[in-house]
Symmetry: none
Subunit: 120 residues, 4 copies
């Protein structure tokens, strides 16, 4: 999917966010295994350690659990937790800043809704 990496952000973080997104969006279901470290490493031409780092974050947050010798599995309930957490953080952290920015730059509703109009 993400064929290319943004060079301004650590790969492991982008990877982490990608996995979270894929769980939220239901591409990886609860109870299923994450693609193995080696598999991802081969597919994306990335060092396995970089992937481990992303996967470690998911374990630290208890969204994923290790089954020794088998792999990492999405915990039950993770999808909802992730979704709620993303919503919360968007609404309480990012959105207020965005609103402030919009007001500072005196952007009109017309300008903001332009991309929506294009889709029609």
């Amino acid at each position: 999917m993400a064929t290319q990496w943004d060079p301004d952000k650590p790969i492991y973080l982008q990877l982490y966010q990608q996995v979270v997104a894929r769980i939220i969006d239901g591409f990886i279901k609860e109870g299923e295994a994450l693609p193995s470290v080696r598999r991802v490493a081969a597919e994306y031409q990335i060092n396995p350690i970089t992937i481990s780092k992303a996967y470690q974050m998911l374990q630290d947050e208890e969204l994923v659990e290790k089954q020794r010798g088998k792999g990492l599995f999405v915990k039950h309930g993770s999808q909802e937790i992730m979704l709620n957490r993303e919503r919360d953080s968007f609404l309480t952290e990012q959105w207020p800043e965005i609103l402030q920015q919009i007001s500072r730059l005196q952007l009109s509703a017309e300008q903001l809704l332009a991309p929506c109009a294009e889709e029609n």
Copy 2:
């Protein structure tokens, strides 16, 4: 103003953005001088080199000009240039991502407009 620095972003960048914001918002007017490196360094307990770096960015973008022995002054026309540039970058880079995020998280207009309602 800037009560504290976000430890995850370079200070010089935060400083740069703060100055731009203050010019756009008219707190520092065109033709006026920026606060001196020393002054800012003392006030914010920051390494002077860090401040120089932020100020250098403003010079590189020709939004500010050096008057030898006097300091840095906001060029005439800078406010408008900055404002337009920020608008453009917001509309073309940030806003599309924000819209996508809103759709992914299935946020309702109600949730998004809540903070506006509060202000009344």
Copy 3:
């Protein structure tokens, strides 16, 4: 019994320790057979190889002996050997560290004996 496995320790080790504990405590008596690999595998949903590994340790230590075609049997004298070995290792390896920890954390006798008091 073993409701769940600690994902941070190898299963075969936990299994080994569990068997030792059950022999020491007399739940499995000398001369009796250990539950078969297949039985344990089915009951605990564990890979049979993992169980073999735990049972192999017991054979290597000659606490258990194989009777071809019948299974593994607890040797006579094993209970005492195990008990003594556990006592020794506890007193010489674990206990000194525990005492040191207690002193470092300045724990009072009161705090340490609280659980004993509860039992009354």
Copy 4:
């Protein structure tokens, strides 16, 4: 101090515990900087990344804070938090198991207090 490493535990974990211990015991005071990654790496002949990993844990737990370009500093209040956490975890997790072990192995008070007697 810890001239040698226990080969059964990851070095980064031992390092983490050592730093926690040194803060609890007051050898590293609140507000002070941790020894730099490179310094420790040179002193103990360890790969810098291994040390980073230990230090990262301390940051994740918000016991230590980064000052960009300067180093890692012990947060105010960390000593007490660490001490309380270690006490809690000892009393609620380790100690009950120890008591159970003592009872299982039928160890006498005499045996347990022997090392204390030696000190006299």
